[in-house]
């Protein structure tokens, strides 16, 4: 393929390096330094996609971030990414891209039938049509809308790319490397300030790359190159291209997305794809420039219609002609600059100027070059379907209401300029209340809200001379405040051509008898008529108009459409634009990859994985692991082909008949020391703690101030002023914070220190009727008899030379002990237990067996202490002291908590003794009752009782105390099950608790 629209010389591309790429399956050539857009245009390709609603042909409208049309699906290194702007995507060897929103192809798109049905798809069409009948929503409307919605397809594969986050601090952050950004950065850097200069494009310089100006004795482009080169050598300066600052957040924090690898065929080894920078800046200079806005006319979405600044950029930066017979349609002098560039490259443009008799240096230059200029002329409509073929033009009256006789002239592109819109997004995000600047028909930042200053075109200053002067000054003064250095900089002379006042004209009236679509928003197909409908139907707030019509939504966020939309609303409403106001600018300024936002926190890295010291033993012994909060715990130890049910049943049974050992390292542990430790416990727990002797453990329940159970666990008095508290695995961090809260804020007079020791101790629970024999062999020098170490007793022991803590506590309801050693000895302890336990038929047991054992004993855990239950509900009211005060006690007097039929824990057994009851099932009186069937309670935990060999569940049931013996139904609509059940005591096994004391 030849690059027929590439000029011989010129542009900033590297003509020594040709790159081949594919678009819609066809191979083309471009150069290094091209974007996908410039390379396609060089090959004469103007049709890139189809529009969102009407599937009208779409070409290129801009040359950068503002692009509303050229959104493609990109394929790179075996991956695919949607929503890529062809105007931003740099070309690389082997790039592949496809059009979106068209089927079967961009040239023949069936959805284009919408274009002929457009009378049926006006603003609010979806809202009005898809409301009824209601039942149609799920089956018909929603799937249809989903299929029609969106531009491109997200990959369903795992993203192999890596994304990084970086935190940075600086004195001055400068957003944009145009003239104002360069001047501000340079002045600040010279004063020794720590500067970060960010540019979203690959090339630095902004408007200086395309404008015909001189700074000092050199061209603007050369001046920019010199400044950047110098900044790069300075140690206090970070200069970043391909880096978009997209959000301005509280306390001067800005977020920047750096595209590290998107311009390469594949990501380099050890490099991320993108890097997200969180930058805390002392001062921010917003030098984000401005974006040209279009003039609205008939069929203004035809491929070949584009911004005049984009045409100029394609020519000056990429050496590409967007057409050989261009028409320039302008209301200001910028269009002439584009026309002059065309002329210089041997192309004859025609300029239509809506103004009657404009005069300026730029216009004089155009006239001198012999460019054909038609004043008081406008484009009425573009003609051509997939590409502009001609234009209907006409003269226009001074009041811009009357069109003259329409004539048709041949052209292959229409370059439109409706003046410039400052890019105020970052300033507005910072909280700056914008103001409307009459002379430029646009909003500019108002009073600074955070430490931000907006410079140059972003602040509505379009003179280069003034921009440089104010920007040097801003950079210098702000940095001086921080570094207290004042290195003077001589401000260079500027040679630029003076321009004349633009015309406040933005929309060409419809000629009589024609109803051309005149688009405001090109990405969402929002036409003038749609906004008119919205206003006719009573929408007044610009925010409502936006949502009803989708004006200014989607990936370009209306960068080229918002102001014209406001102009239209203000005209119809007969208000001035500032009275209409603009919609809120929210971050991100441009779409940001979800991958970049997530960073490294994916898969295994989405949360830390905590492993007990015995983890490697569990792994070697076929443990099947389960996530318990951030911990990995063995669920069961698989033997042969056992499944979870069989394995856990075997393990639980072995605890009930022999002895088992369970890794309980994950339990939260808090070390509590100080003379007031007992007093603290007495206030935190519901039961009494002042008289607990040294060497004894006690079970305790703690409440929140609202009376709800927060956590439970045992706490042991190690010595006079030293306690060891255990918490549930899940609540460990919250309980520590809770204790710190009361110690630091509520009762600072208590002399107590608390610290987490969860990871300092490895824990093994040894449970079963033979556990004492095992203990005796593990600790031959200690008296672990029932007298020497009674239930809830504590002692220290010597485990083959390792100091151990031995607690006689039980969660399984069996005779049981818990042994703790310092974490480093955890594996040693575990191996010794297994070795010595062999003669007693010891087996390790996992969390599933642990649950089975505690459920059939009626011990509560997280599924009952679910943030909705009080002690009574869990049959723990015996632990609530009537004498002393404690956290949450007063709340227990609330009438709901003392009512007669208060919910309470019960046991549930299916009548057939066969069917397991799904957890979460509702308990109801009548399984045939009409919906919503009154719920009496719910199943909190289910197991297979190894004691009785039938299913058993715990439930929280209304008036549970008086429901024992009742027959109810457990219903699980999710599992489609209705199970007749009997309510029994929650203490299904050993209700008197004899085993733990044996």
């Amino acid at each position: 393929m030849t690059q027929a629209f590439r000029i011989e010389n010129g542009g900033l591309i590297n003509r020594d390096k040709k790159l081949s790429f594919k678009f819609n399956g066809k191979t083309y050539l471009g150069y290094e330094g091209d974007t996908l857009a410039s390379a396609l245009l060089a090959n004469g390709v103007h049709l890139v996609g189809r529009s969102f609603k009407y599937h009208r042909p779409r070409g290129f409208f801009g040359a950068g971030v503002d692009e509303p049309y050229a959104v493609v699906q990109l394929f790179r290194n075996g991956e695919t990414e949607p929503n890529i702007k062809a105007t931003e995507q740099e070309l690389f060897e082997g790039l592949e891209a496809k059009s979106v929103n068209c089927w079967p192809s961009v040239n023949f798109d069936i959805g284009a039938i919408n274009n002929f049905l457009k009378i049926f798809l006006p603003a609010g069409f979806y809202y009005k049509t898809f409301m009824w009948p209601k039942s149609f929503w799920y089956r018909i409307y929603e799937p249809f809308i989903r299929k029609a919605a969106g531009l491109g397809v997200a990959s369903t594969k795992h993203d192999k790319e890596r994304y990084e986050h970086k935190y940075e601090y600086c004195d001055l952050l400068i957003a944009g490397s145009g003239p104002s950004g360069l001047a501000g950065a340079y002045a600040a850097a010279k004063n020794g300030a720590k500067v970060i200069l960010a540019e979203d494009k690959p090339r630095f310089g902004g408007s200086l790359l395309t404008s015909d100006v001189n700074i000092g004795n050199q061209s603007g482009k050369d001046w920019a190159e010199g400044i950047i080169a110098e900044l790069k050598t300075m140690p206090n300066v970070v200069v970043k291209n391909r880096s978009q600052i997209f959000g301005y957040y509280d306390h001067n924090m800005l977020v920047m997305s750096e595209k590290v690898s998107d311009h390469l065929p594949s990501t380099k080894k050890y490099h991320p794809n993108k890097r997200l920078w969180y930058i805390r800046a002392k001062e921010v200079l917003i030098s984000s420039g401005s974006i040209e806005r279009p003039i609205v006319f008939g069929n203004n979405d035809t491929p070949g219609v584009m911004l005049s600044s984009a045409a100029k950029e394609y020519l000056k930066v990429y050496g590409v002609l967007v057409g050989r017979k261009p028409l320039v349609f302008t209301n200001n002098d910028s269009g002439y600059e584009t026309a002059i560039e065309f002329k210089k490259h041997g192309v004859d443009p025609v300029v239509l100027d809506s103004r009657k008799n404009p005069e300026s240096e730029i216009i004089d230059e155009a006239k001198n070059l012999g460019i054909n200029i038609k004043n008081s002329h406008v484009v009425v409509a573009a003609q051509g379907y997939k590409k502009v073929k001609s234009a209907d033009i006409a003269s226009i009256s001074e009041d811009k209401k009357q069109l003259g006789k329409i004539e048709n002239i041949q052209c292959d592109s229409i370059c439109v300029s409706g003046f410039w819109t400052p890019t105020i997004h970052l300033a507005s995000q910072s909280g700056n209340k914008t103001k409307f600047k009459e002379e430029i028909d646009a909003f500019v930042p108002g009073q600074s809200k955070q430490n931000e200053i907006t410079l140059g075109a972003a602040n509505g200053i379009f003179s280069l001379d003034e921009t440089l002067k104010t920007s040097f000054k801003a950079g210098s003064e702000l940095s001086k405040k921080i570094t207290e250095k004042d290195n003077e900089i001589s401000i260079p002379n500027v040679v630029e051509k003076k321009s004349s006042q633009h015309d406040k004209f933005w929309c060409v009236p419809l000629p009589e008898g024609k109803n051309y679509k005149r688009f405001l928003d090109f990405q969402n197909d929002v036409a003038v008529s749609d906004v008119e409908i919205a206003l006719r139907e009573g929408y007044r707030s610009i925010e409502h108009v936006k949502r009803y019509t989708t004006l200014g939504m989607a990936t370009d966020q209306g960068k080229t459409s918002n102001l014209n939309g406001l102009q239209l609303v203000s005209e119809i409403e007969n208000k001035v634009v500032p009275a209409v106001g603009h919609t809120t600018f929210r971050p991100p300024y441009t779409p940001v990859s979800i991958g970049a936002i997530v960073g490294r926190e994916v898969g295994k890295h989405s949360k830390p994985t905590r492993k007990s010291p015995m983890h490697s033993w569990h792994e070697k012994n076929n443990a099947v692991f389960v996530d318990a909060g951030v911990w990995l715990r063995p669920r069961y130890y698989q033997r042969g082909n056992e499944n979870l049910f069989e394995g856990s049943k075997r393990e639980a049974k072995n605890v009930r008949t022999n002895v088992g050992v369970c890794d309980v390292t994950t339990l939260g542990k808090i070390d509590i020391k100080g003379p007031d430790a007992a007093e603290l416990l007495n206030r935190v727990y519901t039961n009494a703690w002042l008289k607990l002797p040294v060497g004894k453990a006690r079970y305790g329940v703690m409440l929140r101030e609202d009376g709800i159970v927060m956590d439970d666990g045992t706490t042991t008095r190690i010595s006079e002023n030293h306690y060891h508290m255990t918490t549930t695995t899940a609540q460990a961090a919250n309980v520590l914070s809770h204790l710190e809260y009361y110690l630091q804020l509520v009762w600072p007079e208590l002399n107590v220190n608390v610290v987490s020791t969860t990871e300092q101790w490895a824990g093994a629970a040894i449970a079963g009727p033979k556990s004492r024999y095992l203990l005796q062999k593990l600790f031959p020098n200690s008296d672990v008899s029932n007298e020497g170490l009674p239930f809830m007793g504590y002692m220290e022991g010597d485990l083959f030379g390792v100091k151990a803590r031995i607690f006689r506590i039980s969660f399984s309801g069996e005779l049981a002990y818990e042994v703790n050693v310092e974490s480093d000895y955890g594996n040693f302890m575990w191996q010794k237990i297994m070795e010595v336990g062999e003669e007693f038929n010891i087996q390790p047991y996992g969390t599933e067996a642990l649950s089975t054992l505690r459920i059939e004993m009626g011990h509560v855990a997280g599924s009952e202490l679910d943030g909705r239950t009080i002690p009574f509900d869990n049959a723990l009211e015996g632990l609530v002291s009537k004498k002393k005060d404690f956290i949450g006690k007063r709340s227990l007097q609330r009438s709901a908590f003392t009512s007669e039929d208060r919910q309470r824990i019960v046991g549930v057994v299916p009548l057939d003794k066969q069917t397991s009851i799904p957890e979460g099932s509702h308990l109801v009186k009548d399984d045939k009752a009409p919906l919503p069937n009154p719920k009496l309670g719910h199943i909190s935990a289910s197991c297979w009782s190894v004691e009785y060999d039938n299913p058993f569940s715990l439930a929280i049931l209304k008036d549970g105390k008086n429901m024992i013996g009742q027959k109810l139904f457990a219903m699980s609509p999710l599992k489609n099950k209705v199970i007749p059940v009997e309510i029994v005591s929650s203490h299904y096994v050993d209700p008197k608790g004899e085993r733990v004391r044996s």
Partner: protein, 89 residues
């Protein structure tokens, strides 16, 4: 993301802290008769202020100290921070 001056550690980003609610709430003394209304005010009733608000934060990924922060709930401006036992001027 807020930038909070921990009185113990210095300027730190918000993601090191966890929020702890209204700092002006005072827990009724232990063992004291408390009316329903008083108790409800302590446990549940909070003003949802627009403007200057004294609130608790815990420097959970730092020194673990609870601190008091005077913050504007509308603008997020932080005026001053205090140690737990410091008198709020």
């Amino acid at each position: 993301m807020l930038y909070i001056n921990c009185p113990h550690c210095g300027m730190r980003s918000q993601n090191e802290f966890s929020y702890g609610g209204d700092a002006s709430v005072k827990r009724p003394e232990l063992n004291k008769e408390v009316s329903d209304q008083e108790w409800d005010n302590f446990v549940y009733n909070r003003k949802s202020l627009r403007g200057k608000h004294l609130e608790l934060w815990q420097h959970i990924s730092g020194c673990r100290q609870w601190i008091k922060v005077e913050r504007d709930t509308a603008t997020h401006e932080i005026f001053k921070t205090f140690k737990a036992d410091e008198e709020v001027a």
